[in-house]
């Protein structure tokens, strides 16, 4: 009987570790404190700050007046500078964003080059399994049109997201998202020659404050990790620059349009002055360049 009971106990113990929520059987103070800590941690873990992929971020470029500027992407030669895991993961994000940028503008040759770099880095950060033979065949046979490239680029991102989720590698996903978003912002800000208040791209840049806030909240959830902590520190100047944007509040309530969609977002508008724009441009350029040349202080 003892022999049978032991594996059962072991399974129970494993389950307890797995679910991380088994209550103890004593009511002492320590236990209560522990429960409170667990609850706080659970509350934190139960919040999900969602970040769009570079494909989604670049989605609006199609019909606007933005021009493709090849010199804005992270030079391929920089890959040799990424020797530590953090820089590899974060710059996996920057190259993914570069690939999405090239793809959004239908630049087939450029996106293939970036794809090769992304694939190389994927092996180095342990997500090479995502690039299956069938995916590689799809890329080899892709038609030179924007939609096919976009579909593949989007599928790769989804596969990576799923793979990292399944391996409990939330930290890696956060670093990739950070790199991707920084590169997106760097490219878009530097694609605008001069500030014009009515330019819709200027408003897009101002609206990035919302995504940046989400990104910071996600990183702060994981700040016990040293590489996340140093990333938060690196983003501090950008946080300061976005904090200077004025948020105009409106007394608008939601309504529903003819097709039944709920109109939202009427309660505030983020405004960006020329000074704000220049400050963000200067800051994102400095932060992004530090990351891509791996010049971490």
């Amino acid at each position: 009987m003892k022999v049978k009971a032991t594996p059962i106990c072991a399974i129970v113990a494993a389950s307890a570790l797995m679910f991380q929520s088994c209550a103890g059987d004593s009511n002492n103070q320590n236990n209560q404190q522990q429960q409170q800590q667990t609850q706080t941690s659970q509350t934190n873990e139960n919040n999900f700050y969602l970040i769009p992929s570079p494909e989604d971020l670049f989605a609006f470029t199609k019909d606007k007046n933005l021009q493709f500027v090849p010199g804005l992407v992270n030079p391929i030669e920089n890959i040799d500078k990424y020797v530590d895991n953090r820089s590899k993961e974060i710059n996996f994000g920057t190259y993914s964003a570069d690939m999405a940028y090239s793809t959004a503008f239908g630049k087939y040759q450029e996106s293939l080059k970036e794809f090769k770099i992304v694939r190389q880095l994927s092996d180095e950060i342990g997500i090479g399994n995502v690039f299956t033979q069938s995916l590689i065949n799809r890329i080899d046979n892709v038609k030179e049109d924007r939609d096919s490239l976009k579909q593949i680029s989007s599928d790769i991102y989804l596969d990576i997201q799923n793979f990292l989720d399944s391996k409990n590698r939330a930290k890696t996903m956060s670093l990739i998202s950070t790199g991707g978003w920084l590169e997106f912002l760097y490219i878009i800000v530097n694609s605008v020659d001069k500030y014009e208040a009515e330019n819709p791209t200027i408003q897009r840049i101002a609206d990035q404050k919302i995504i940046f806030d989400n990104l910071m909240l996600r990183l702060e959830q994981q700040q016990s990790d040293p590489s996340i902590k140093s990333t938060i520190a690196e983003l501090a100047p950008l946080k300061e620059a976005f904090a200077q944007l004025e948020v105009e509040k409106n007394n608008t309530t939601s309504s529903t349009n003819n097709s039944g969609a709920i109109k939202v977002g009427g309660g505030m508008k983020i405004k960006m002055t020329e000074n704000n724009f220049n400050k963000i441009k200067e800051t994102i350029t400095s932060v992004r360049n530090n990351i891509t040349i791996n010049n971490v202080k």
Binding site: A14, L17, N46, L50, D56, F60, N162, T253
Partner: protein, 209 residues
């Protein structure tokens, strides 16, 4: 000593198996294919949730795109998940629906519940609930899920599948926890399963307002 070794061996074997079972939510997203003009939004998320807990998802949405949000949940939850969506620009609750209506009631529109399907008699088919959003300015939506306790104890681990989605869902997971009051040691069933916040989008149709 033998027992200790056996104990450790079983822990080592059981733990990765358990963790693997926990992580099947990641696969849920790939099963869904948006119908044009909608396209998949990569901010979609499928997470392992547990009965009796609350979850929040903060979704940034951008002016110029229209969004459709749908919820899918493992059958272990029996559609018993309340959903609130808050427009963060105003703090206003713009959606506040139960996962399902009380026994015997059928939804009269796909926006009346978060999970229980609406029978469209004209089209003679079930429509999964959906919520459409059209941002007039970029904002965030805070999606709050209240995963209710199950009404009655369920069978231990069972296979299940959605009626209208032809794929297998991950196994449900159950655990027993002692009741908060030690004096009444009534076991409370804790069920785990996947909840998916599925987001699709399309370019805004300017003339809809």
């Amino acid at each position: 000593m033998k027992n200790v070794i056996k104990f450790l061996l079983v822990v080592l074997v059981s733990l990765p198996l358990g963790l693997q079972a926990q992580n099947t939510c990641a696969d849920q997203m790939k099963m869904r294919k948006p119908v044009a003009p909608y396209r998949y939004n990569t901010a979609s998320k499928s997470a392992m949730c547990q009965t009796g807990r609350k979850y929040e998802f903060v979704l940034p949405i951008t002016k110029g795109m229209d969004y459709r949000i749908q919820f899918f949940a493992s059958t272990v939850f029996n559609n018993n998940i309340d959903v609130k969506i808050i427009d963060m620009s105003t703090g206003e609750v713009v959606v506040n629906v139960p996962g399902k209506l009380s026994e015997g009631n059928e939804p009269v529109s796909p926006q009346q519940t978060a999970l229980q399907e609406f029978m469209d008699i004209k089209k003679n088919k079930f429509i999964h609930p959906f919520f459409d959003f059209s941002p007039v300015s970029s904002t965030s939506l805070k999606i709050m899920l209240d995963v209710k306790e199950v009404e009655k104890p369920q069978e231990q681990v069972q296979e299940y599948s959605y009626s209208d989605y032809d794929y297998e869902q991950p196994r449900q997971q159950q655990q027993q926890q002692p009741a908060a009051d030690e004096g009444f040691a009534v076991p409370v069933e804790k069920n785990k399963g996947c909840v998916t916040v599925y987001v699709i989008d399309r370019e805004t149709e300017e003339d809809t307002f």
